[in-house]
Subunit: 264 residues, 4 copies
């Protein structure tokens, strides 16, 4: 048995608060009840102050840990398009967004627990150390106890560790991986896995086994501290329910990583 | 001698950090050295994260108190156009903006001292109690020690007092007033006073005498705790220098109201 | 029988193309098949270039006349909040938006047929002649054969007539009216009528009878050339189907007003 | 003497209309009098409807040809940051922007003459044929007589030719070039040449000699139809005056390429 297989607990996180004005997206009210951490959009790629506040309220009612989900200032592209911003620009925009959410959460009596970059920013920072350092510096300057999420083995995780931040390695059970551990881009066919049983199987493989199968069939060592569950798919809440059952049947408990259990 | 004439100190504030991206506006570096408090735009009507950070640095170097200057989300209108947002929308957008600046200031080791609403938001809240209450609630939920700026006798001052916030009555030495104490709108001829000597004379009248002459010639009782100096006019820095000399010659000291002296 | 009751044809229009980026709103594909004119959002209050183009294609396939639906630059407020823009600003922003849509429609081989202002802009221009004149001037400067939509008896209709534009008086079968013929604001309880049978009944009353009952029970003379059907409600397509059946049973044909039949 | 040296006329173009709301940038009123073509920002990276209209008026008064200057939707980055938009997104956003300006120009009685992509969009399309084709398709769908500007030998020029558009090869006299003919990025030291005499010398070398010296000292064959003069530098108008004198002393006339002379 590999050392990675000893995980006895896992955090389930979801990207929420991505509605905007009159536009609704996701099924936050349903989903938030099933996860342990939520990543709240901060108004750049999605979300607005009213949506942020309502989302924090929902998380508080469900006991989910609240984190910030900063992205590029690209509402029409939903933060999924790469933007060649400088590390300095990225640092400042992350401080801005995390600070805005921190104030809204504070107004609702909720502390921030973690930060997870969104979309293209997350993926660029996984491989670009300068951007990763910028994000880590931003998070540290707001609150050095915030947990920084990133792909296992990514530059973002390394930057967080170098900055002295608590970090959490994140798996995506409904996404295919490249052989190098990066996410297969959404633009590629098959990048998103829609079969619920397959998603649950992959999740349990990551959490209990510390491994995942890449898109080319190779096996990756892939220890995770938190698992992302997407809420913008039909049946998301049901999927999370199945996942929790599957994990609990293996003696793995589901609990937030931020503000409680932080990866050493 | 009237009770208002006993002021022995005054805060000089200025709206700064209103540049945006490649666009420069104002003469912040010059001006910040001459005032005691600065109101930093927060990205909605003006400003961006990089400008906000640079502005906070300038203020720190000069020892000026740093406050937030939240406005309507109307960059093309510079926040000067009335927008019929609901009190709830206003509350949330103020928390968002103040929180964003607070984080940036914190990253630079600077505490926030006060909040001054910008442009149309400031003027609407001067007469609309529901909006004024929304702003006061927003400020209080971020930090109840922040000083709320407003026109003397305005709903904004009353809302701040009702919320238990420290408040500061603000005068504009380069603007004409209506007989009811509201600002003459910028769209009206003569609303902005460009003659430096007249500006200095009016400032000293407000501060030392607690009075100002309205646009119709009537005399208003007008005690002020802080005086706004505009930086987007040529010669602004020189004007502030003259003003400080004039005040000091009357034994009135110039010092920040926030984080040090708060109106009882 | 009153003179207004002689209408033998009616245009059915709907506000469409209000999705934005990843955000979907409305049921355009269903709805467009049932109406004769569509009002396409132009990127200020809703819509983006890709959505605009897709919407024009859907309209072309269904044979619906395509019009522009310009609004205030307020995406988060969906153009429903009053913004105190000057007539000059309104004129320029309407030219900009109509021109952008005209080019996209041209790229799809579709001519523009009409212009209908959106939300707060529509309602402000119903009572403010300077804004109404600004909109009429904008439309005329793009193409003087475009039909300008407005509330019956509104300043917008008067401005269009004064500018020599063809105009179309518009009714809203699912909205309550004030005694003065203006729309009851959405913020008021009961402003939107959800009962399908009532909507159909009101529509037939406006079209065949030239009358509508205001919210206080008074009867208004209300001749209409075009009737707005909302697509953002469940069952919208079914409602339109019932409405067309009801109209046809009274010998009233449904056909576009723009590019074909223009009110004298 | 090389065949490229036979150019007896040149177009001088400048990027203008980049002010936004209360923000002023450039010295348009001065500069427009000295060039033969202007590229007007369209509201995405800079410009707003009021600025666009005022800029068209200035161009009309000076007799300069008016073209569109579409860019990425990145106001805070001034369109200078690469954004990984898809070719389809680029095509639609270019149609939108060109159409918006075309309507504003039409309202002022001015026809559009050309299109020049801005900043990062221009540079990405110089080397990415799919983006170049998207821009060419957009321009063609608006008006197939519009002249498409691009770097000599770039994919943008090739795409324009393939689409059957008239094209114009553009030189930048105040920018250094890489050995492959692309612009040295602004982020590199020395990328922008500030010495007026050097700028004039390089301009005349390109126009009269069809050659330019790259940053590594190599000589590039560089025939140009139009030369870009930047207006955001002090002394821009004076520089253009010197340039025109230098050209005229060599018998080279300065005149617009669009709507009059189009490269075969």
């Amino acid at each position: 048995m590999s050392p990675e297989s000893t995980a006895r607990s896992i955090d389930l996180n979801s990207d929420v608060g991505e509605s905007f004005g009159a536009y609704r997206i996701g099924a936050d009210a349903d989903l938030i009840r099933h996860v342990t951490s939520v990543n709240v959009a901060c108004g750049y790629h999605a979300g607005d102050p009213a949506v942020m506040r309502e989302t924090v309220r929902l998380a508080r009612e469900s006991g989910a840990a609240v984190g910030a989900h900063p992205g590029f200032p690209d509402l029409v592209g939903f933060g999924r398009r790469e933007l060649r911003a400088s590390p300095r620009e990225v640092e400042d925009m992350v401080v801005y967004q995390v600070g805005a959410l921190a104030a809204i959460a504070h107004a609702e009596g909720v502390p921030l627990a973690h930060v997870k970059a969104h979309g293209a920013l997350y993926n660029m920072a996984a491989r670009d150390r300068a951007l990763a350092d910028a994000i880590a510096a931003a998070v540290k300057s707001v609150d050095s106890s915030l947990v920084l999420f990133g792909l296992p083995g990514s530059e973002l995780i390394r930057a967080g560790e170098a900055a002295g931040l608590p970090v959490a390695a994140e798996g995506f059970a409904d996404r295919e991986y490249q052989p190098d551990g990066s996410l297969t881009p959404r633009s590629k066919p098959g990048a998103v896995i829609h079969d619920a049983a397959a998603v649950v199987r992959r999740a349990i493989g990551m959490i209990a086994g510390g491994r995942v199968t890449a898109i080319d069939g190779s096996e990756l060592s892939f220890p995770v501290d938190t698992l992302c569950v997407h809420g913008d798919t039909p049946g998301a809440a049901e999927l999370v329910r199945q996942l929790r059952e599957g994990l609990e049947s293996q003696g793995i408990s589901v609990r937030p990583i931020g503000r409680r259990a932080v990866r050493a």
